[in-house]
Symmetry: C2
Subunit: 391 residues, 2 copies
């Protein structure tokens, strides 16, 4: 039996919770392809999501891992599943347009009597393609195939003690990364050299917390490039008079703690001071609403109200749930801090409160990963909440 | 106009080649979601593939980038497209089950008169979900929606001079990474500390070649974990008497050069010496078949024949095409070295010749990225082709 990040009891609770929701929706089985859902239910941890794979869960018995034959060995090494509940398909199915791996999933399901009733698939998740669904529709003609995108993700919303301890470890790591930026960055330094230092800091980790890979690479655009989110880096030297934001995450045992800070080299223009002031006040206003019983949208309303009053605007969501994740997204893809999201906050939920501003000549990101407590919200990092200015 | 990795002429050739194939298949338009295809056609480079996005290409005019509004700025910064050919959708569509972003793609296509005829989608690509396709089927009732998975990937098979120069830069980087393993690894070293050094080496790069992020993180399992591919790392110390394989890549401007080597610490068992000998001979046999006019399967046949003669077996493919890539796969997802792949080799094609062996108590990976030349194959790296033994 391999060493897993959680005890057998915790996996059992997860499976039970998921089955309760399946029953409530009248589902006989679900097949989950989101790698974070696969890991959360079974422990499976491998970079194999570039081929078709998933976990089949019915209302009784163990989940069943299904994937490429060579990865079945990885499933034996990383899950609690009995080996006859780990099923691999032949390598000739890999990236071969003449046949689809899902044909073998249908056979496996038939072998286990899962061919009729209501069966759920994550229709809007990466790694569940249109072609996969079409192959399943052909193969499972007696079943009613329904959408369960997010079903398992929602079960993950309230974190256990152990999960929170992993996110706290990731928080230590991202704090260390921001310290590296603060101490190391200077005009003329090649951006990629700074990113190399950040990677080194994140993977060495902090004390006994070794660094795992984050679900998104560092995003660190400067100047006009920082008017856009989601650009990574090149070898351009850091420049005096420019801002650079560092949207980065620490990761521990696949749990993610993203946090952003912005660096300004040289004499900072008043506009950035004003934007910093507005964001900090708006963050305080948002955090004041972050408590059990309030809604996700309450945080957005308070944040945006304060921001607008101070002369700035943000038209995208200002936060999202975080936890266990694999590329390409460190978010949990359930709750968002935005108007209309009526999810009630509960203790144990974790979010990236992400009040990024993209200005006309640069970006300002000062963000906070938070944990909802019994009485309010706890910021998971101690990184100073400010625009980092190196004059 | 932003600085792109290729000149306008090269992008024009790519679009023309793609249109020729579209015409040959009677297609009026294609919508590509594979991030590497988006980048190859337009230059677009952003970590935004966790939301719905793509490039629409018809038989005339510029391609059109479509994605999340905040990423439209990134498209302005990284593509050659005129800004009215960059179309963003509202942030309220992001990860919101009550509406699907593809509804806005349908509107955009209607605005441009692309609502009928034969329209191709990459039905089996990550990032093109079943739900996306269903939304398009509802919205494009007059069109014939067909599968074009791999259509653009196949146009990328033969690399240009500039592309080859980028892969050569990535080759320098992965050589450097293997040198770090050879020089740094020792019993007792925490695995994550070694991985941190590898990341640092890869991102700092070599000379003027700055390191970009590889499309897969380092895979570096030891001992019994190395009987499985695709596991990453933790903080377990390297141990005497164990093998560890390092399946890693250098990357430059999103072009990937993967290469694997295996490290054995301590006195190496005869079995590993035998396996090394078999793999090296089989690699030579495979390389001898790697020349223009031969087929992809010829390499596999020669490799497997020699391997079997020497008492070892491998039942998965032993190579695949490489080039421009984004997570989750550094392969190009077209050609494979395996029985039945009748693709004719041409000068300018690049592959990862990947003859990994997974034994009963460990793994042995000694692999070669190669370029098909006018007369044969060139190994892109000078990394010594051997089992690395530190006794």
């Amino acid at each position: 039996m391999p060493q897993l990040p959680f005890g057998a009891d915790e996996y059992a609770v997860r499976v039970r919770k998921t089955r309760q929701e399946m029953s409530a929706r009248g589902l006989d089985a679900i097949f989950v392809t989101d790698p974070s859902n696969m890991a959360w239910l079974t422990g499976y941890d491998g970079w194999s999501f570039y081929v078709h794979q998933g976990v089949l869960l019915t209302l009784e018995g163990e989940p069943v891992w299904w994937g490429r034959a060579m990865d079945a060995i990885g499933a034996q090494r990383t899950t609690y599943l009995q080996h006859d509940n780990i099923v691999g398909y032949d390598d000739t199915y890999v990236q071969n347009p003449s046949k689809h791996p899902m044909e073998t999933l249908v056979s496996m399901m038939a072998d286990r009597g899962v061919v009729a009733g209501r069966i759920g698939f994550e229709l809007d998740n990466y790694y569940f393609t249109a072609a996969a669904f079409m192959a399943l529709q052909s193969g499972l003609k007696q079943a009613d195939l329904v959408d369960v995108t997010g079903l398992v993700n929602w079960q993950r919303a309230v974190k256990s003690e152990t999960e929170i301890s992993y996110i706290r470890a990731a928080a230590r790591i991202v704090e260390k990364m921001h310290t590296v930026v603060r101490e190391t960055a200077e005009p003329g330094m090649r951006k990629n050299d700074l990113i190399a230092d950040l990677y080194h800091a994140s993977i060495t980790g902090v004390d006994e917390y070794w660094g795992d890979y984050p679900a998104i690479v560092p995003m660190a655009p400067s100047g006009m490039d920082a008017t856009a989110p989601h650009l990574s880096w090149d070898d351009s030297p850091l420049k005096t008079g420019e801002s650079t934001f560092f949207e980065i995450a620490g990761a521990y045992r696949r749990y993610q703690c993203p946090q952003s800070r912005t660096l300004f080299l040289g004499k900072v223009p008043q506009k950035y001071i004003d934007a910093e002031k507005a964001v900090l006040e708006a963050v305080e206003a948002g955090l004041a609403q972050a408590r059990p019983g309030n809604l996700c949208e309450d945080i957005a309303t308070a944040f945006n109200g304060t921001l607008n009053k101070l002369g700035f605007e943000k038209d995208s969501r200002c936060g999202y749930a975080i936890g266990l994740s694999y590329p390409p997204d460190w978010g949990e893809r359930t709750m968002s801090f935005r108007a209309g999201d009526k999810t009630v906050l509960e203790p144990g939920m974790t979010f990236h409160f992400m009040p990024a501003l993209w200005l006309d000549d640069g970006g300002l990101e000062i963000t906070e990963p938070i944990l909802i407590t019994e009485t309010g919200a706890e910021c998971l990092c101690t990184t100073p909440r400010e625009l980092v200015i190196k004059d």
